[in-house]
């Protein structure tokens, strides 16, 4: 089977800074690929290449086996790659249905009378949100009044509705509480069940472990490892993520300091 998205030896430079070096990775349909890494590991640069915000300097990017290069987020979306950015996905003062269809509004009528099909937009939004388990009673409710998890759900539902084959989630749980994070993880699983390839960016291995089929760790712009589920346990994951030996060292030091003297 051809992978939905595959990168081969991709690198990215910002001036003389090597943001990413020789990254290879593939994402299959119906799988959650977790990209883990500490701050500065290159996670953001990596997804920005996949979502069309940046272009890679070296290597290849293949969508369903076909090599391509995205010139804009719109370009990536047209190829079926939708990105839900952490905090930049919705406009808080706009209503749920306006946000849902923002940039791809359904219209009726022709010429100067071309207008948004409000009824269709509202009904569709409610239907899609219901599939995610959220009952939006008032479609005119501003998105800002939803909880953080629900707002992520709006973005995910929107991406799924507009035919995304690959869903990239950029730290969807980082700003959320425990309960809300659980809600978002459920949406991740749901998107997978619907046959999407999900790329889940996070620095929280506790969020990644329960939902991931595959774990990729980045550190300082390089690929540290790539494991299938079952090939690695949670503790090992945490250790690899934070640079293994360094964490051992830290634990050692902390324990010594905290010991009663």
């Amino acid at each position: 089977m051809t992978a939905l998205v595959e990168v081969r030896g991709v690198s990215k430079y910002f001036g003389n800074v090597i943001a990413l070096k020789d990254i290879s990775l593939s994402v299959d349909a119906g799988e959650v690929t977790c990209v883990l890494g500490d701050n500065g590991a290159g996670k953001s640069s990596f997804i920005k290449i996949l979502s069309g915000v940046h272009q890679h300097d070296d290597g290849e990017l293949l969508v369903e086996g076909e090599e391509c290069r995205f010139s804009s987020p719109r370009d990536a979306r047209e190829r079926g790659i939708a990105t839900v950015f952490q905090d930049l996905a919705t406009v808080p003062l706009m209503s749920v249905w306006r946000n849902f269809f923002l940039g791809s509004e359904p219209t009726v009528g022709k010429g100067p009378l071309r207008r948004i099909d409000v009824k269709f937009a509202q009904d569709t939004m409610r239907e899609e949100m219901r599939k995610m388990g959220i009952d939006v009673r008032d479609p005119d409710q501003p998105v800002g009044t939803l909880s953080g998890g629900e707002r992520q759900a709006v973005s995910i539902a929107r991406a799924v509705y507009f035919g995304a084959k690959v869903l990239i989630l950029d730290e969807p749980t980082s700003a959320l509480g425990v309960k809300q994070s659980g809600v978002v993880l459920r949406y991740v699983v749901q998107a997978r069940e619907r046959g999407l390839g999900v790329i889940f960016i996070t620095h929280n291995s506790h969020h990644a472990y329960p939902v991931g089929d595959r774990f990729v760790i980045l550190n300082r712009g390089k690929l540290v490892g790539d494991w299938r589920r079952g090939e690695i346990d949670r503790d090992e994951l945490v250790k690899k993520m934070s640079g293994g030996a360094e964490l051992d060292q830290l634990t050692h030091e902390l324990e010594r300091k905290l010991e009663p003297t």
Binding site: V91, P92, L102, G103, G133, D138, R186, Y209
Partner: protein, 352 residues
């Protein structure tokens, strides 16, 4: 956590109990224009009861006239503010465009209609430049258009003096085509009360803007670029194009008002329009537009302009010194900003 996978397959829609009591009242209060509508009613009632001429047809013709030229601009400025930008050159543009049309016709021999076309094209160009500079430099539009404001003010005075030797351009009434242009832009209707045609223009423009905002893709994009330009860009809204178009709309509206005023007086003062930009912004803010963008309405801005028009004429009818109108503008602006702030907090939610 492994049980989430099973639970996710058939999620039961959960009704949010916190949404249960959104009644008609709360729903109405969510509309940006409600405050200005109430304000307009109060002010109208006050002057209607305390002064004699305010409620007569002649009186109404009077304050709707004042409201109309402010209102046309306030609607355009409101769209721009919803889109997250300001235009401080909007006031002086009414002077620049009037003067340009005057000079083209009286000094350079163009007849009225070609001059009007050139004037609109000129305004569109200035609007484009405002927008382009704001987008390219990423500077606040406040500063960029403040510069445009002073440049235009200087040009207005300098060029007018250099060409005519005075600070006004006069004699538009003798230009060929004046009569037909006047019929469209400057005339009155319903004699003997003489309502201005500009009132009809205002209502039509406000209705069009409302429709655009509420029902078109462009309207959706205007809210989005003002509400969160980054989020809008991420979903594929052409942010730069929307903002530049809004600056052009504002400048073109200023040209319309400038042409209207020039035609009805058949002359233009070089200082025309200076200071008016704040009146437009006040009308838009009173109408519920947030200074931070992303929220507001064209109807609200029209009510705001109506409040200003009623107050100006009402103060005059009351026999007070007309200088008091500035105090009035200041007070209603402050009130409106306070109310808007409350609205925004409720709409955005405390979590952000």
């Amino acid at each position: 956590m492994s049980s989430t996978a099973d639970a996710a397959l058939a999620p039961e829609p959960v009704a949010d109990e916190r949404l249960a009591n959104i009644g008609l009242g709360a729903r109405l209060m969510r509309r940006p224009e409600v405050g200005s509508l109430l304000g307009a009613l109060v002010i109208c009632a006050f002057f209607w009861l305390t002064t004699e001429p305010f409620g007569t047809l002649n009186g109404i013709a009077n304050w709707t006239d004042v409201g109309s030229t402010i209102g046309i601009m306030a609607v355009a400025v409101a769209l721009l503010m919803i889109g997250g930008e300001f235009d401080l050159s909007a006031g002086v543009m009414t002077g620049t465009t009037g003067l340009l049309m005057g000079l083209l016709t009286t000094e350079w021999g163009l007849s009225m209609w070609p001059a009007i076309v050139v004037t609109f094209a000129f305004a569109a160009t200035v609007g484009f430049m405002n927008g382009y500079m704001v987008i390219k430099t990423k500077l606040p539009s406040f500063i960029v258009t403040l510069a445009t404001f002073f440049v235009l003010q200087g040009v207005n005075l300098g060029v007018t003096k250099a060409i005519t030797g005075t600070v006004r351009v006069a004699g538009l009434g003798d230009v060929p085509g004046y009569d037909s242009a006047f019929k469209l832009f400057g005339a009155t209707f319903w004699a003997p009360h003489n309502f201005r045609l500009s009132v009809i223009w205002w209502i039509a423009i406000a209705a069009l803007a409302t429709w655009v905002l509420a029902r078109t893709r462009a309207g959706n994009w205007i809210f989005a670029v003002g509400g969160d330009a980054e989020a809008a860009r991420n979903v594929g809204v052409p942010v730069a194009r929307v903002k530049i178009a809004l600056f052009m709309t504002t400048a073109i509206a200023a040209a319309l008002v400038g042409i209207m005023i020039a035609l009805r007086l058949s002359s233009v003062q070089a200082g025309q329009g200076v200071g008016e930009e704040f009146t437009y912004i006040i009308a838009a803010v009173v109408g519920g537009c947030l200074l931070t963008g992303g929220y507001g309405s064209a109807i609200g801005a029209s009510f705001g302009a109506l409040i200003v028009g009623m107050a100006f004429i009402g103060i005059q009818f009351s026999g007070w010194n007309t200088d008091w109108r500035f105090l009035f503008l200041g007070v209603i602006l402050l009130l409106a900003v306070l109310v808007n702030n409350l609205v925004r907090h409720r709409a955005e939610g405390a979590r952000r």
